[in-house]
Amino acid sequence: MVTRSAVLLVLGRVLVKAFLIALAVVVIYPLVWMLLNGVKSNSELFSNPFALPVAWKWDNYVTAWNRGVGDYLTTSVLVTVASTIATVFISAWAAYGLTRVNIPFNRVVLILILGGLMLAPTVALIPLVKMFQSLGLYNNLWALLILYTAFRVPFTTFLIRAYMMDLPAEVDEAASVDGASKARAFWQVILPMCKPILVSTVLLNILFTWNEYLFAMVFTSWGALQTLPVGLTNLMSKHGTDYPVVFAGMAIAAIPVIVLFFAGQRYFIRGLADGVGK
């Protein structure tokens, strides 16, 4: 009896592991297919979709880069860096104000900022178009910078605030005994202590901004500067018949965030888990 259930247990373990590995292969295969198609020729693409490339055409990447992907990448990097910095600083100030500074209407401010978590960008879309048209910022990267920051501040503040609340009060007391002002305590004591959560929020904001499509499409589609997600759909509609180049462009868009995820996996998981769990 004991041996039989032991055998079943081992068999179960093997089956579970086999299933999980098979699933991992199914999940990752489309991405491998994408990378391989990026170095094929157009005719190879249509002959046998599972075949490996005959001659590895790395120049597809160069072609994609020259057909605009290089510009899209530059725009994406610019918007991502600027809005991530803006979001994290504005959120860290707000979190500090909410947790460690005596501000009026603390409760109202808290509800106002965290309430932003439930606002769907689609709902604000139509009025925002009118607003940015009258501000003269339609078809302009400033529109993206402002909107990404505004719509990411609630989540980022939420994460940093939760972290700051867990920092012991003695930290502030020590800083105020030293005669440090609130501003100095923030920059020299609290902010450095928040480093782990700041890394998490930076990574999550990069992921969001890099991949955002709705605002990017509506606010920069007709402009000269487009981010990668919008640019890729244009590459597809303009050079749609040269598929390997489109695949190469997709790979160029995907690889940086995948690398970033593996490099900062620990921080990603922390940020994501705190975002839903707290």
Binding site: R13, V16, L20, I21, A24, V27, I28, P30, L31, W33, M34, N48, P49, I90, W93, A94, G97, V101, N102, I103, P104, V109, L112, G116, M118, L119, A120, T122, V123, A124, L125, I126, V129, M131, T149, A150, V153, S176, G179, S181, A183, L207, Y213, L214, V218, P229, V230, M236, Y243, F247, M250, A254, V257, I258, L260, F261, F262, L272, A273, G277
Partner: protein
Amino acid sequence: MTVSDTAWKPAAPPPASVSPKSPKNRAAKSARTRRWRNIVWVLPAVLLLGVFAYLPLVQNLGFSFLKWDIYSGRQTFVGADNYVRMFNDPIFWKSLLNNTLYAIISIAFQVFGAMILAAMIEGLRSQRWRGILRAVYFVPSAISLTVAGLLFYFIYEPEMGILNAALDFLGLGNFTQAWLGQENTAIFAIIAMSQWQGFGYCTLLFSVALQRIPSELYEAASIDGVGPFQRFFSISLPLVREMTGLMMIVTVSGAFQVFNEVMVMTSGGPNNSSQVLGTWLYRSGFVRNDFGYAAAVATAVFIITLILAAIQLRISKKRRVQW
């Protein structure tokens, strides 16, 4: 940005000793001014959200009562006309149905499927495999929905796609079809892509929730001879219930805001069969130049997300008391 606020120290006398007419009243008043000055810490966040998130919300409600041609700029008040048209619009209902399908299928795969998967992963004895599998499953969530959408556009493509090729290979050639080109399969093909893209994210979160369960519980259970299935149902499942509730809300709320993948893969076609509220809103406004109507659809989305957010708030309040 620097804030000079050297005086926020316990230097001020305790308020109890301040009588209304004493000279110390002035000190209290300046403390109040200082308190107001502290608002600069939260001001950037409040202004950004107020102007670019909350104000548009209110404006949207106003626009939904207008007939509005954005090219001529002409706006006419039409009362509830846009809402009447919306309730009589079969494509609006089709979109709502598609969003609902999205939500139901996503709950099945991305909440319950992911939970079972997480339990399987956390049951593995090798720490290394647990890490590898969690990471591999998450990779599709790191890439953009645009790349994922384009990728699956090609996977579903009849000439070069691997789905039909795989079906042929498995002897299921009868099932090959133009997945995105037919009215009855398009939305399901899109939803399937979305499951691929999102399940790893949910699995990761469930894994974290499972890791937080004290291991003594499992050890005690296995000493008592409780099998792995029973352990899952009597320990894991009840203890990640709060996470499950939150994930359901997050998933459903996401399902009603779908836009990117539908736009990239079908733009709502063929014949509006894969339209969702987000794409129908976009099309109404930016393609059909019917911005008042688009604003009415946006209001519908707002009401749905508001209800879901209220439920979410209740769940997370309850959770705080229990945990």
